[in-house]
Every structure is written in C-alpha cells, then in structure tokens.
Symmetry: C2
C-alpha cells in the first residue's frame, strides 16, 4: 500500500487517449509528466496543451512519478513495461505501474511478473469509452493486489470500477467489450465493402435502412471514425483473438477483424490525423475507397 500522498502521475505515452487522461488529472490538481525526448513535435505540442510536463527520458519519469499509467498501442505494452522495470531496478523508485492497455489477460500477467520482479507495484486496468473529454463517458476498470492505490485517482477525475484483487480481470472485460464494438465495426466494414464489390451496395443499404435501422445509423457514424484508428486496432484484435483462444474459443473471428483493420490501415484512409481540417470521408466513401483498392489488387 502506498503511504505517501499522490502528487505526480506519469503518462506513458501521451497519444490521443493518454493526453486526455493526463489533462483530467492535471485539471484536478495533480502534476502530470511524460518522457517526450523521442516523440514528435505534434505530440509535444498536444502534451503541453494538456498541461503535461516533459521530464525528458524514462529514468526521469520513473524517478519523479508516484504512479505511471501505461497507455499505448497493444504491441508496445510489453516492451514498455520491460524498459520501466529496468529503470525501477536502477533507480530503486517506489512506483505503481498501471497497465491500461487493450491486451490479453495472459499478456497482463507477464507484465505483472516483470514489474513486480523489479520491485514495482502493479495494477491491471482498462479503459472503456472515448478519451475522457466530458464527464461520465469513460470508465477505467481495474484489478490486482495493489488496486487500492490506483483507486485513489478516483479523487482526481477518473471514474474507476474495481474488479477485485486479481490482475487480468480488468483486461478481460476490455477484451470482451472491444470484441463487440470493434469486432462489429470490422464486420460492417467487410460486408459493406463486399456488397460494393458485388454490385448490391444500394439494395443492401435500402434493406438495412428498413430492417436494421439502428445498425444502419451506427455504421454510418462508425466507419468514418474508424479509419484513422485502424492501425492501432490491428494489435488489439490480435490480443482479443489470443484471449478467446486461451479459453478454448475460436480465434478466427477476431483474427479476421485484425485482417480488416490491417487492410484499412494500408490505404490512404489511414493517413488522416484527428486534426485534419478537411471533411472526413463518409461511410459510403470509405467503402468505395476500400473496394477500389480490392479491384486494383485483383487486376
């Protein structure tokens, strides 16, 4: 149990989600820091706007932070934990490391072992909802033996739901939830693109509007928002596939969702940044662009 007051939270590393989380904590009175030595000017600017202080390298982050929140793309979660563990060993820092990434419970337990072996404390967390820019939309789930330490951030603007003292539970709920939301978006992207390729896009659109109005509306909103994030979701789908395989279920649905996001991420649709001032393509345009890529790869 942490006996000192929480004063400083490190964000590893402030992308869209991490920056918004940092801003919430900063607004609620905490010092929020990051190690931005190797990051882009865009990231540095966004971090500064969110009130996040750049302390330079990772050992500085580990020395100065009471808690580090790891908020990364899934494929970086394990190696980031290894770097932090090494810095904990070298600095002897008293640190709570909270893995907030969308990774399989079995990956979480590997990271827990790495962090605790270095002398750090560990909490498994996951984030459901968008970057927390308005209250009530975003929930942190958390589990693990040091859960109580992380729960203290609930006093600084984060909504945290405890899931017991076993690491893996917080990630498990995230895997199942993201399977639904991002799995469905992948499925929609695929079947709408297939309809375009097969020449039945307009008939299908009318049928969905008539018999599946809720989903029809949802897909129109989801496809344009998905494309700039597709590259990040590949790894997340693969982590879910591993999670499902671990309990004896087929990994194929989610492996296929990873295929879809990999395909999207290799097109020009993936090149927009969230700050792009030009209008995002509509769902119908997304589908047309994807179908064009398929046609080109066939011919």
């Amino acid at each position: 149990m942490m006996t000192t007051t929480i004063k400083t939270v490190g964000i590893l590393s402030p992308g869209d989600m991490g920056q918004a989380v940092g801003q919430v904590l900063h607004t609620h009175g905490l010092r929020v820091i990051a190690s931005l030595a190797a990051r882009s000017e865009r990231t540095k600017t966004l971090a500064a706007q969110a009130g996040i202080v750049d302390v330079g390298d990772l050992p500085a982050l580990v020395r100065e932070a009471d808690i580090i929140l790891s908020i990364l793309v899934p494929s970086e979660a394990l190696s980031a934990a290894q770097f932090v563990a090494q810095a904990i060993s070298e600095t002897g820092a008293d640190l709570l490391y909270v893995d907030c990434n969308a990774i399989a419970p079995q990956t979480v337990r590997q990271i827990e072992t790495i962090i605790t072996a270095s002398g750090g404390r560990f909490v498994d967390a996951s984030i459901i909802g968008p970057p927390p820019r308005k209250p009530g939309a975003t929930r942190f789930y958390a589990s693990g033996p040091s859960l109580a330490d992380f729960m203290r951030l609930g006093a600084f603007g984060l909504e945290i739901k405890p899931l017991g003292d076993e690491s893996g539970q917080a990630s498990a709920i995230k895997m199942c939830y993201a399977a639904l939301t991002k799995g469905m978006t992948a499925l929609a992207t695929e079947l709408l693109t297939a309809a375009q390729m097969l020449g039945v896009a307009s008939a299908l659109d009318q049928e969905l509007q008539a018999s599946q109005p809720f989903l029809h509306e949802q897909f129109k909103r989801q496809l344009p928002g998905m494309t700039p994030k597709a590259h990040r979701w590949v790894g997340e789908m693969e982590e879910i596939a591993q999670t499902f395989a671990y309990v004896g279920l087929t990994p194929q649905i989610l492996a296929g969702a990873a295929d879809i996001y990999r395909f999207v991420s290799q097109t020009e649709l993936a090149q927009r940044t969230p700050e792009d001032p030009t209008p995002a393509p509509t769902a119908a345009q997304v589908v047309e662009i994807l179908a064009k890529h398929l046609t080109q790869s066939v011919t």
Copy 2:
C-alpha cells in the same frame, strides 16, 4: 418466358422456411407439392398442415410443378440441383428452378449452369426475414434472365424484390445481410462465453446495459433463438466466407462464425425442436452451458 399460367409450385424441401412459404402460396390459391418419400413423419405432418401435397418422388415433383423453389440447408443446394437437372433431362419437363438458398454467388452460377444445361430455366433468389407467417416481414430478392417468371409469384402472397437479370445478385445481398445478422450473433455468443470463462460476465453485462443498451437487449433475444438453428448456419457462414474471399476480403471473420455455430451445434442446446414445449434457455443460460462445455474439454 413462361407462357402458361402458374398452377403448381414444388417446394424442395419443406422444412421450417419451405413449409411457411408453401402455406402462403397455398393460401393464395396455388397447388403446392413436395417430394416427401424419404422425409420424417414430423415433416410430413407439418407439410400436410400447410396444405402441401406429397407427390412421392423427385421425378413426380419435376413433372407436376411449373416452378420449383429450392429451400434447403446450404450444403444440400448443389446436389439437389443435380438431382432435379437429371429429372428434367429424363422427363423433358418445362420447369423454372428457383434457388432460394443462402449460398455464395459463385455456387449459384454453378447451379445455374447445371439447370440450364438440362433444359430448365433458372432464377437466383434469396430470402431475408423469418418464415413468412405474417405479411411484410419477409422479402424474396431475385435476379437472373428468367426473373419475370418468378416475379409472377408476387401475385400469390410473396414479396419479391427484383435485382436485375444477372444470377448471383440475389444471393450476394443475402450473403452480406446474413454476415451482419448471423455474424453479429456469432460474435456476441463468443464474447459473452469468453466473459463467462474469464469471470467477468456480470461486470460486462452491467457495462453493456449502460453503454450498449440496444445490443444488450438484442443479444438477450437472439441467443435463445439461435441455438436450434446453429447447425444450419455453419454452412451459411462458410458460403459467406467464400463470397468474401472471392472479392479479395478475409474469409476469417465468417469462418470463425462457422466455428462458433459448429461448437453450439455439438452441445445439448442444438437438440431442441421448434415444437419443444419446455421453456427455451435464456441467453445467460446458453452462455453458461457453452462455458461448461469449454471447461470440460479443457480438463
């Protein structure tokens, strides 16, 4: 073009859907026939209740029918067409063969070749919606050079939407639509079962109720209705996987959906008939039973 009046429609073969379609046509004044020589007593009783006359063997069906509607599980569509083609060759019957099955456009074109080579005419059709027991809920999509002949059944209680004179289009829209409805149910079955295995079923249920209320309600209705049909849906998911692969998209999502329905069909959940008077298991019970099977197969 068919010059005679339509008097007799053959249903190949009257299961749940075929029987309801036959009943609609019978109610609207057509003679509806089937070949039930090799079928169960249950099927014969249901057919008689729907006003469908048993003419015995397949050659009799081909001789007496003006139109045959093929309404089968996907895996039987091709071999049924081969039997009918042989009977057309032998009897010289003037027949319109309408394949209404949930099969890939490329499979449809194989069947078209088989039927037209025998001297029969062919229409590609697909059925979206439940067995047509109430008006307005079920639509037939249809395409192919003999489309106009099939459209005449629109005067006998079927809602038919034309999709042009190219076979494959009607099946294409069905593939994309069923990818959505049955693909989503497979995804839901998987992620809810995973949550049960991982010990987060109750937390996920609360999260879904709060942030995905529409889908939460939908899954509660869909899972109990899915289990007796799972064995039929395996082949349908495989046809969709082939359809998507044909246009250059990943087959994995739908292959995984086939895996899920194969798993369900191998449990006691698949053994209920639609006439079973005992209450169907709830969605939560479905998930518990599936998780129990996974646990047993692990130990």
